[in-house]
């Protein structure tokens, strides 16, 4: 078991090293930008999976935390000076705001059943979108505003490396988190909340913690996203962002951390190529329709997603249990 763990880690390290070296080897600007985008959405999707895959809560308001991070960074870099220290400060501010808001919302709404929670998060994030659109002095509404990124990020490569570093850090942090005793309780909540409760766990507390951690990580993704565009408008708060995170998580594989990263890669690449195909046939302008259909099929037929399905196949192969005659008494019963 330990050995397998190390092998997995080694593979990951090699992959990360390859990705880190990539911008030095290739000077394709498109790919650097695309990969940066994939990393940012991987962070977002992982944070979403903490809720959907690990705790079993469906939130439709994840975009609001993403948007908080994006706006915190954009506004602070715009109002104060565009330096690195302000950038890091803005990330911290975004995280704190997202943490506090997700704590309050979680405390109010996580007591409710899944339906109500999903609906309420949808409504609250709609409220934040309206707020951002109306509070024009701060956000410039739907028109948005551009801002200057710190000098340090003028070089796309530096930013690429920073985002990659964030991705790796978030991955290891979340992996530690879900493997901690606290994470185990979250999984128990997903499997059977009633039973977890009757085992003496105050499940509300655990769910609130999960939603705060997810909100804070999503805010980090938002901050990075704002820098990558050097522009922010209310689109960072729209349902589309939540849907992206949802699609990435579902298609990649719920309940894993690598799954959302794979999902982010698949979706961003597909989006890139499909919108390129729009010249061939206008239906590709509505590429999201394909995702919608794939997503529905995935929910019905592959609820485990890409990674989950592969893992399951491996697991089945490895644990090839010889067919047991059900009628025959098992060994345990015989030795009793």
């Amino acid at each position: 078991m330990k050995n397998k763990f190390q092998v997995n880690n080694a593979i990951l390290l090699v992959l990360v090293a390859a990705l880190a070296v990539f911008p030095f080897v290739s000077d394709s600007r498109t790919w650097t930008i695309l990969l940066t985008q994939i990393f940012i959405f991987s962070i977002l999707a992982m944070s979403y999976d903490l809720l959907l895959g690990y705790t079993g809560i469906v939130s439709f308001g994840h975009a609001m935390f993403f948007g908080m991070g994006a706006y915190a960074t954009a506004i602070m870099l715009n109002r104060l000076e565009p330096t690195l220290s302000v950038f890091f400060l803005s990330i911290a501010v975004g995280m704190v705001i997202a943490g506090v808001i997700s704590f309050l919302i979680g405390l109010l709404t996580l007591r409710l059943k899944s339906h109500f929670f999903a609906m309420l998060t949808l409504a609250v994030s709609g409220l934040f979108l309206v707020l951002a659109e109306k509070w024009r002095t701060l956000t410039h509404g739907n028109d948005g505003f551009t801002f200057r990124a710190p000098e340090f990020f003028k070089d796309r490569m530096m930013f690429y490396l920073l985002v990659l570093a964030c991705l790796v850090l978030v991955y290891f942090f979340l992996r530690r988190f879900v493997h901690s005793p606290l994470g185990r309780v979250l999984i128990a909540v997903r499997e059977n909340e009633q039973r977890t409760k009757s085992l003496g766990f105050q499940t509300l507390h655990y769910k609130v913690i999960a939603s705060v951690v997810a909100g804070v990580v999503a805010s980090l993704a938002g901050s990075l996203y704002a820098i990558s565009l050097r522009f922010v408008n209310t689109s960072v708060l729209t349902m589309d962002i939540t849907l992206d995170a949802l699609l990435m998580t579902i298609i990649g594989g719920v309940g894993t951390l690598i799954g959302p990263i794979i999902g982010a890669g698949v979706i961003e690449l597909a989006q890139h190529y499909l919108s390129g195909l729009a010249k061939e046939h206008p239906i590709f302008e509505r590429w999201i329709i394909f995702f919608g259909i794939i997503y529905i099929l995935a929910v019905i037929f592959f609820p485990k997603g890409i990674l989950g399905t592969i893992q399951y196949a491996f697991w089945k192969q490895k644990n090839k249990i010889p067919k047991v005659d059900v009628a025959a008494p098992s060994r345990k019963e015989l030795t009793k």
Partner: protein
């Protein structure tokens, strides 16, 4: 006085439109334990098809009937393909109906084009009456009348007919109804179709009211309908009417007096209801 009457009529008209959407949502939830996130998509389809039929035939009656039929057909497809495989699994239901919502609203853009379409009010219902100082816009009054009519008809069906009895019994205890020899799955399908048709009717009535139809309107109204369903109590038909009127009135008065808070007021209403009465103002029983 004139202002207050106008705000009242505006609020009631909006409330009725929300009610048409919320009524289907609440019945479907009460009976089938399914929260249909695609309901807003059905609403938007109703609006677009209503405008399309009106442009084609120039008859508002046909436009309404066309929209209702579109809604029923879409409801049939939704129930058969989308909802049926995931009965009993809440998380999958939420995910899949939301996915279908995306497909529905993108399909709208494929079929009718991505831009918003202008909707005309039929000549018979356009214009307004002047009673003293008060100007009453005819179309708004029409919406209110239709809303109450729908409520009356459905209340009659639910309370006085056999099918209504089955539906009400199903809301209380599905297994028992099944055990008494009624094909509850069939009832599910019909209720779903009726709910979808109501949503589409709401959409078709909405189109001339707002003057334009656009694909995103489904989601906007769906959020209001969710709020209404939560406030009114999941599964309660009269509850959804009262809550819809409440939300409509609160929206129209706030939009005039405190415009910045017009959406927030609904959220606050919902938050208060959820904290003090999580089951909603009305319960489904009885």
């Amino acid at each position: 006085m004139e202002l207050i009457i106008n705000l009242l009529i505006n609020g009631l008209a909006t409330g009725m439109l929300i009610f048409l959407l919320a009524a289907g949502l609440t019945l479907i939830f009460g009976l089938m334990d399914v929260l249909n996130f695609a309901h807003g998509g059905l609403f938007a389809w109703g609006a677009f098809s209503g405008v399309w039929f009106y442009g084609l035939t120039n008859s508002f009656t046909i436009a309404i009937i066309g929209a209702i039929l579109t809604g029923a057909v879409l409801g049939f497809i939704t129930e058969k393909i989308i909802i049926k495989p995931v009965y009993g699994n809440h998380i999958q239901q939420i995910l899949i109906t939301l996915g279908f919502m995306i497909v529905l609203s993108e399909m709208l853009k494929v079929v009718f084009g991505p831009n918003q379409i202008a909707a005309k009010t039929p000549p018979l219902l356009s214009g307004s009456w002047e009673i003293g100082d008060v100007i009453i816009i005819k179309y708004r009054l029409f919406i209110i009348v239709v809303g109450f009519l729908v409520f009356g008809v459905f209340q009659f069906i639910l309370k006085r007919t056999k099918i209504g009895l089955i539906v009400r019994a199903g809301v209380m205890n599905k297994e028992m109804v099944q055990a008494l020899g009624i094909n509850i799955k069939q009832v599910f399908l019909y209720v779903f179709m009726v709910g979808a048709a109501l949503a589409a009717l709401g959409g078709a009535l909405m189109a001339p009211y707002s003057g334009v139809v656009y694909a995103e309107m489904g989601m906007e109204f769906a959020i209001l309908a969710f709020i209404v369903v939560v406030i009114g109590g999941m599964g309660s038909f009269p509850g959804s009417l009262l809550a819809a009127i409440l939300v409509g009135l609160a929206g129209s008065f706030m939009a005039y007096y405190v415009p910045a808070l017009s959406l927030a007021v609904n959220m606050m209403l919902m938050a208060i209801v959820l904290i003090f009465r999580p089951q909603g103002l009305f319960t489904a029983k009885g």
